[in-house]
């Protein structure tokens, strides 16, 4: 698998997110309060809200449009809501974040 460096951990605020643009749409990269990093499609399973703009809590994000809560680990909607977004493989090495290139490209 090929990895693409996308930036530094410190570029993302704790409990925050940044976007990466890919040819197939945006990917949201999250950093949690305990410095774990996750990437999922920036497209809420409900009505496509930009998840990168939501509030991050634990390993979840709440969509800014209608408050669905999406797990960053599984991409699944939590609670009573049903739906999922794609999660994208990602790794950090020495403060640099890498994203799996195939996944990045196919993310829709």
């Amino acid at each position: 698998m090929q990895w693409i460096a996308i930036g530094q951990l410190s570029d993302i605020p704790q409990r925050g997110a940044r976007c990466i643009k890919t040819p197939h749409g945006k990917v949201a990269v999250f950093r949690t309060g305990d410095d774990r990093v996750f990437a999922i499609e920036d497209h809420c399973p409900h009505r496509g809200g930009p998840l990168s703009q939501g509030i991050v809590h634990g390993a979840s994000v709440t969509c800014p449009l209608h408050n669905w809560v999406i797990s960053l680990e599984t991409g699944k909607a939590q609670g009573a809501d049903e739906g999922a977004v794609r999660t994208i493989p990602l790794k950090t090495e020495g403060g640099t974040i890498y994203i799996a290139s195939s996944a990045a490209v196919e993310a829709a």
């Binding site: 605020p13 976007c19 990466i20 040819p23 496509g48 809590h57 709440t62 408050n67 809560v69 290139s101």
Partner: protein
């Protein structure tokens, strides 16, 4: 060494005394009770609801069997004490039990007064005193035949209403010309009679009973005037007399009742007495409030304490018949030195009478509408000079200085020492402080801890109002609504604890208040962030990650993920230069839509997030700052053209609107705040549906608030009239600060006001200049840290991560 305490009688007075005693000195005494009634302590007051079927016996038990076991108390049920041997210090029951005492308490209550007429011992003649009487009445009621109640006082009427409820044909015989003549004046007595008659209860006044007819059981009642009323059940409710014979026989000093001093001590130093059987300071009592006072004093004495002694107080009387509201207090006889204020509303069935002496209330009779009873009682008790409110006094508390109120507001406006529960003498402050201190959330808790509404229950509504305004919307009869799933605490608790514990970061709040999640959720974090900003201006660092996206990027997210941008136009006033700058920005960034908003602003819709900083930069050059159209904060102050241009204008509404907006912009509030200023009551700026509005009039500025025109529609409440523009600004600012400090996150002003009470807000903001000033000052202080233009901050680089992608991944070279 434990001393032996024996109590004769297990009624409401000694029951209460034991509760106090166990609280103060558990284990000091070995306690034995003899009770002639074969049962535990129950709420005698509630016999009427049992009779009418609204409650059953289980529901009115005060101390169940388990309570006696738990507290190591021996209760002899069905043992009537027949002798006291003071020399040997023993008592003996009719079942042959003899027990020795160190201290003896006599609490034998009263016995019903049985008319000394022929036939009064016939089967079917009952009194109304205990559960046995009620059960006998219920049995008789099964026949659904005729009942006569002798006595048109409190007890008799409750019995009559209950029997009627149970399907009997009921006639009340009353010796006096009007019902309840000791509690009601003739007018109210008359209305009461009308009401009872309309329910099918027959009432005969001036009815003197000659005898009770019947061979082996009751068949009817004959009056002195020869009339005969057929009946199979006769209830004697003609009064009570203190049950003092056993003390008298033992040689203890008695008069009408057992004579005691103000600490419940009889003539024998080892014997005390309390309850209806006791006579103190020339009074005997028939209502529980003073008996509970006796209970408190007796318990203190038994515990070896030296508290204040017993003082006489008038107790209000209420009739516990569902659907009939009667309240009576004090002395309402006419007199030369007395004046009265009377209000009658025949259509509504309302009669109110206040008797005044030297401008102070000495007596009150309320019929049909008794909500103000507590207030009048308070005025009477404190002997407050009412000259200033004489004109409106009779309309009740709600009318003192303004519009009518909802009941919660009326209760909210009561002073802390206003008595809420007459039976137990519990004042409002006590309930509020106990609720807060102990974190009580249910009526049962409040009853258990304060005793309020634990006796006759007629104040339950009031207590619930107190709970409602103390706990706010969070009070639902079950429990407080937690803020979110991360905590069990409600918003108000959290706000209070943030202050009380000096918590100054989200982390500290979550730690100290034992949050169940590591970093909260999207519900609690923005709320906490707001509370901290509001409570610790300058000390707390705003946590942007806890803000909703709109506030984080200072623009409104739209459904397609683009943003809308609204520059501030003070008071809705603009000019050619500003409009030109907006036009340029729209062209340059190809903004797809431009719209005029309801708040007199211009909205540019469809701005890409990446463009936001550049859009702001260009707008900033033209002098614009953020319009905060996205914020839980001051949004807009709408104005009309006012005296500058309009022929009707009374004041410079535009100028005032701009002044308010420049003063208040940038402040964060629990929910959005929209304001408006109209130059005259024609109200072109629609100020009467805003969170805060000002209507200019010739004599000054009318301050409005708590309007809504969104999901809910609601006209504003009037806070009051102020004279100058400075006063108007101060009032508006103080009001907003009060709201900022008290409301729950996302709670609009009108909801908060409903919870807190319009009157309370008016009292703090308009009537109390010091309070107003301190709110004002706190607002001014917090503005020092809030009035920073978020746009220019971001144009100069703050939070630039928000607006740029982290990376752009291209296609060909990235493919495998």
């Amino acid at each position: 060494m434990t001393e032996k305490l024996i109590i004769i009688g297990n009624g409401m007075a000694p029951g209460r005394m034991l509760e106090y005693l166990l609280e103060k000195a558990a284990g000091r005494y070995e306690i034995t009770i003899f009770n002639a009634e074969p049962r535990v302590n129950y709420d005698r007051i509630m016999l009427s609801p049992v009779l009418s079927g609204e409650k059953d016996y289980e529901q009115i038990i005060i101390h169940g069997d388990g309570w006696y076991i738990k507290n190591g108390i021996t209760l002899y049920k069905g043992h009537k004490v027949v002798a006291i041997d003071r020399a040997a210090k023993t008592v003996t029951s009719d079942k042959g039990v003899t027990a020795a005492y160190d201290k003896l308490v006599i609490a034998t209550g009263s016995v019903p007064f049985i008319l000394p007429v022929p036939g009064n011992t016939l089967p079917g003649v009952l009194s109304y005193r205990d559960l046995d009487d009620v059960q006998a009445m219920l049995l008789a009621a099964q026949s659904r035949s005729k009942a006569v109640v002798i006595g048109g006082g409190l007890l008799g009427l409750e019995a009559a209403a209950g029997l009627k409820e149970r399907g009997m044909d009921v006639t009340v015989l009353h010796l006096m010309p009007t019902l309840m003549e000791r509690q009601l004046d003739p007018a109210a007595g008359y209305m009461l009679q009308q009401e009872l008659e309309s329910r099918g209860i027959k009432v005969i006044t001036k009815a003197s009973t000659k005898c009770i007819l019947g061979a082996r059981k009751v068949e009817g009642v004959e009056l002195d005037d020869g009339r005969i009323i057929p009946a199979t059940l006769v209830v004697m409710a003609a009064g009570i007399k203190p049950n003092a014979w056993i003390a008298k026989e033992a040689g203890i000093a008695t008069n009408r009742g057992i004579l005691v001093d103000d600490r419940m001590q009889t003539s024998d130093p080892d014997i005390m007495s309390l309850g209806e059987c006791a006579e103190v300071g020339g009074h005997v009592y028939g209502l529980v409030a003073p008996l509970y006072e006796m209970a408190r004093i007796a318990a203190a004495k038994l515990a070896g304490e030296q508290g204040p002694g017993f003082v006489h107080n008038d107790t209000p009387t209420k009739l516990k018949v569902t659907g009939i509201d009667v309240f009576s207090l004090g002395d309402f006889a006419d007199g030369e030195d007395r004046q009265e204020i009377v209000l009658r509303d025949a259509a509504a069935g309302v009669y109110k009478r206040l008797v005044l002496k030297e401008n102070r209330i000495v007596g009150t009779v309320l019929y049909g509408e008794t909500a103000d009873g507590a207030w009048f009682n308070d005025l009477k008790k404190k002997a407050i000079d009412i000259s200033d409110m004489r004109e409106t006094l009779i309309f009740g508390q709600a009318y003192q200085g303004g519009a009518p109120l909802d009941p919660t507001a009326a209760v909210a406006a009561l002073p802390d020492d206003a008595e809420i529960c007459g039976c137990n003498g519990v004042c409002k402050g006590k309930i509020v402080s106990t609720i807060n201190d102990k974190g009580l959330t249910s009526l049962d808790d409040v009853r258990a801890h304060t005793k309020a509404s634990a006796s006759c229950g007629s104040c339950t509504g009031l207590v619930e109002q107190v709970m409602k305004f103390t706990l706010g919307d969070a009070y639902n009869p079950i429990a407080v609504q937690p803020m979110c799933a991360c905590t069990t605490l409600g918003h108000d608790d959290v706000r209070r604890l943030i202050k009380a514990k000096g918590l100054k970061s989200i982390y500290a709040v979550m730690q100290e208040l034992e949050w169940k999640t590591s970093c909260g959720c999207a519900k609690c974090r923005p709320a906490l962030n707001y509370y901290l900003i509001c409570d610790w201006p300058g000390e707390y660092a705003d946590d942007y990650q806890s803000r909703f996206i709109n506030e984080r990027v200072h623009a409104n997210i739209q459904k397609d993920g683009t943003y809308s941008v609204v520059p501030r136009m003070w008071g809705g006033v603009t000019n050619a230069r500003e409009l030109r700058a907006i036009a340029d920005v729209v062209d340059k960034f190809q903004i797809p839509a431009v719209k005029v908003t309801g708040g007199q602003r211009i909205d540019m819709l469809g701005v890409r997030k990446e463009d936001l900083p550049s859009v702001w930069a260009d707008l900033g050059k033209a002098g614009f700052v953020s319009g905060h159209a996205y914020a839980k904060g001051l949004r807009t102050v709408k104005t009309c053209v006012g005296s500058e241009w309009c022929r009707f204008g009374t004041q410079d509404s535009t100028g005032l609107g701009i002044r308010i907006e420049k003063f208040m912009w940038g402040s964060w509030t629990p929910a959005k705040v929209k304001m408006a200023v109209s130059g005259c009551p024609r109200n072109c700026a629609e100020a009467t549906c805003k969170d805060v509005g000002v209507i200019c009039v010739d004599s000054g500025y009318e301050i409005h608030f708590a309007g809504a025109a969104g999901l809910d529609i609601k006209g504003t409440e009037v806070l009051g009239l102020v004279k100058t523009e400075d006063d108007a600004l101060e009032a508006v600012v103080a009001l907003t600060q009060m709201y900022r400090e008290q409301a729950r996150y996302l709670e609009r002003i009108y909801k908060w006001a409903k919870r807190v009470g319009i009157d309370e807000i008016r009292r703090q903001i308009l009537d109390d200049p010091e309070r107003r000033r301190s709110y004002f000052d706190r607002f001014v202080h917090s503005q020092k840290f809030a009035q920073v233009d978020p746009w220019s901050e971001r144009v100069s680089g703050l939070h630039k991560h928000e607006f740029r992608p982290l990376a752009t991944v291209g296609l060909p070279q990235a493919a495998e």
